[in-house]
């Protein structure tokens, strides 16, 4: 039976049918009828409009449309710029290996990329101005290692490679809980490599990206870890030269921080930085004024300046010395007075602001004397923060502020009094009273008693005679001689 035109107009579809049409789920017959009906029935059209309002986010759609239109030109310009800057980091892993000059042998495990000497290479972890870091699997020991290979232009002649290996071996002798362990140093396919402990917690640079500015307490803790590592290295005659967040790694998210890439900066010529301008890793931002000036004979205080920059950045989220180009940054480091971190972030405690100023003195002799002294200042701050957080964090006490857990306990060596990040940094305990002795005193100097009990046992008296301390900077002397190996002060016989 067919209905006449007027009949169809009169019989309005039920709201169920209308909803099916609105949701694009109607039967063809139904749909045809509604289409025809809507042509004729003003009431149903109004009702249908109303239904659409409730079913769909029309307001949002209109806004999104406007938004897109409004930003179209700017978006297109930006998109072109971003697309053009296809990051070199995103090259294929295999290609990266070929560019390094590696002749990839088939890996033992087919899911890996290639075989390189005793390692199966898994993937590229990162690339910097100095070289490429690969995640590798050490076949013999069934463990993960971070493999650092020098870029071809850094490798140079056999003389450069020999120098690299010499430096790397010196660094490999450093063993400390806050220093990334070097498993092996060697040469494979005429390419020198360093196999390091692989830390899966990412770097401090990642933490800065994600979370800077940090709480003053956390910033001080991390820098304290770095300084403890530096103190150990300095006492062994090694200057880092490239302290920056990317070289501070975490075993997991959080402490303890471990310092990597000791002394490698020396191997890389200054040219590397210049040609790598624009590359994320090639930044002079953490260099000291004397380093920027190209001084050859850098003292340990160049590292202290770099830690100052790191501390400033952790506290404020910004770098103290900035510029549009590498050169401008270098100039700022030498000439621009250190800005007040409290100006950027009023909650920075005055005590830490003072520490930053001291570390960032342009003249090395005005900075902290040693990493140890710098660490002690932070230790003092952390100690006080642990006993009364409100006073020292400088934050206004507000009722809805979540209370921080107390700072981690700080240990100190009962022989040399150096402060330690954790009990892990202890080498052992006193033969007579169980007080802790730091790793340095324990393993490098054979000390087995606390200061009070020194001389009571044979081992201790021998140890004590070996461990001479500088009267000026208190550093343990690893070598004989009339002058302190760290600060150059005359030793008292």
């Amino acid at each position: 039976m067919s209905l006449g035109r007027m009949d169809r107009k009169r019989i309005c579809p039920t709201s169920d049918v209308m909803q099916r049409v609105a949701e694009d789920a109607a039967e063809p017959q139904e749909l045809a009828e509604v289409v025809e009906h809507l042509d004729l029935c003003r009431e149903c059209r109004a009702q249908f409009d109303h239904m659409l309002e409730s079913l769909y986010d029309l307001r949002g759609i209109v806004d999104a449309g406007r938004n897109a239109l409004q930003h179209r030109t700017d978006d297109d310009t930006l998109s072109a710029r971003l697309t053009a800057s296809f990051p070199s980091v995103l090259v294929d892993d295999r290609q990266a290996l070929v560019e390094l000059g590696l002749k990839p042998e088939p890996p033992r495990d087919p899911t890996y990329l290639a075989r390189y000497g005793p390692y199966d290479i898994m993937r590229v972890l990162g690339a910097g101005a100095t070289g490429v870091v690969l995640l590798a699997h050490e076949l013999a020991l069934e463990r993960r290692v971070a493999l650092k290979l020098m870029r071809p232009q850094q490798r140079g002649d056999s003389d450069a490679r020999r120098r690299f290996l010499f430096e790397a071996r010196a660094v490999a002798r450093l063993t400390h809980p806050n220093i990334v362990t070097i498993h092996a140093v060697g040469e494979e396919q005429r390419m020198p490599f360093i196999a390091m402990e692989f830390l899966k917690g990412g770097s401090l640079a990642d933490l800065v990206d994600d979370e800077a500015p940090l709480e003053p307490l956390q910033a001080a803790e991390i820098c304290h870890d770095i300084l403890v590592a530096l103190a150990h290295a300095h006492e062994n005659g090694i200057i880092h030269r490239d302290v920056k967040p990317a070289n501070v790694l975490f075993p997991d998210r959080g402490r303890p921080a471990k310092l990597a890439d000791f002394g490698l900066a020396r191997i890389v010529s200054a040219d590397a930085l210049r040609t790598q301008e624009g590359v994320i890793s090639g930044t002079p931002s953490y260099m000291s004024p004397e380093q920027v000036a190209g001084e050859k004979d850098l003292g340990i205080r160049t590292d202290l300046f770099s830690v100052g920059v790191v501390l400033f950045e952790l506290l404020t989220g910004a770098l103290p010395f900035q510029g549009k180009s590498v050169w401008a940054v270098m100039q700022a480091i030498r000439e621009v007075p250190t800005p007040d971190p409290r100006e950027l972030r009023p909650s920075v405690p005055t005590e830490l602001a003072e520490v930053v100023y001291r570390a960032l003195e342009k003249e090395p002799s005005r900075r902290f004397l040693t990493a140890h002294e710098f660490a002690q200042r932070l230790h003092g701050f952390l100690d006080r923060a642990a006993s009364g957080p409100e006073e020292t964090t400088g934050l206004p006490s507000s009722p809805n502020r979540v209370e921080r857990p107390a700072a981690l306990p700080i240990y100190s060596c009962s022989y040399c009094r150096v402060s330690l990040a954790s009990a892990l940094s202890m080498g052992g305990s006193c033969e007579h009273c169980d007080r802790g002795i730091c790793f340095d005193c324990w393993s490098a100097h054979g000390i087995r008693t606390c200061r009070e009990h020194a001389g009571r046992s044979q081992t201790a008296s021998q140890g004590a005679s070996v461990a001479r301390r500088c009267p000026q900077c208190n550093a343990i002397q690893t070598r004989g001689g009339r002058y302190c190996g760290v600060c150059g002060h005359r030793m008292v016989d």
Partner: protein
């Protein structure tokens, strides 16, 4: 713009990470670039700085791409991108405040920084921008799936707000047909948006191992 907004977003990430081709990079930039830059513009960052900051956020993302893993139990890419962008913006403001050289725009951020908790408000702004971006991407996709007259109907009635009668005359179709076409597009749009939301909240997620 990608044809595969939504459920395959993870595979876009995967492709950027694993294939590292110019095309997947472009797709990636096209999707998230406008999101980041519009958010920054809304905060009053001037165009030159917006471009720089967007590029910096991408630099961070790229630097971290090699360590991306997909694990349903962990945080998601979307939330991480939000955090990275907001933090970068806040750091930028902190620097601006020190050297108030940039003309205009500072008023917006000053207002923001005077709020008791600027972070919550920034997050809400970001979410709003995200929703719009998702809708817009969905429109882009649906536009290519439907015939031109159907799309034109939607564009004129919904986006431009023209009356159905007028649109019907302009496109030479019946008023009823205008309604049906409009519903078709709306329905598909909602479908695509729902798929996208699924990625954001319930679907497979990307995360960073050290989060």
């Amino acid at each position: 713009m990608s044809d595969r907004v939504g459920t395959t977003r993870v595979s876009l990430l995967a492709r950027v990470k694993d294939l590292r081709s110019q095309e997947s990079w472009k797709e990636f930039v096209d999707l998230y670039g406008p999101l980041i830059s519009r958010f920054l513009r809304k905060l009053g960052v001037v165009e030159a700085d917006t471009a720089d900051l967007t590029q910096e956020v991408f630099a961070i993302v790229v630097r971290r791409l090699p360590s991306f893993k997909y694990d349903p139990a962990k945080g998601r890419f979307r939330g991480w991108l939000k955090t990275v962008t907001i933090r970068r913006a806040l750091r930028f403001f902190a620097q601006q405040r020190r050297t108030p050289l940039s003309p205009g725009g500072t008023a917006v951020l000053e207002v923001f920084l005077q709020q008791p908790d600027p972070h919550d408000q920034l997050e809400e702004m970001w979410e709003q921008e995200w929703r719009q971006r998702v809708l817009e991407a969905a429109m882009d996709q649906v536009r290519r799936q439907v015939s031109q007259p159907i799309w034109r109907t939607f564009q004129m009635t919904v986006l431009h707000g023209s009356p159905a009668q007028q649109v019907a005359e302009g496109l030479g179709m019946s008023v009823g047909q205008v309604y049906v076409n409009k519903c078709r597009v709306l329905k598909r749009l909602r479908q695509v948006v729902e798929d996208t939301d699924e990625f954001g909240t319930n679907g497979p997620k990307a995360h960073l191992p050290n989060e």
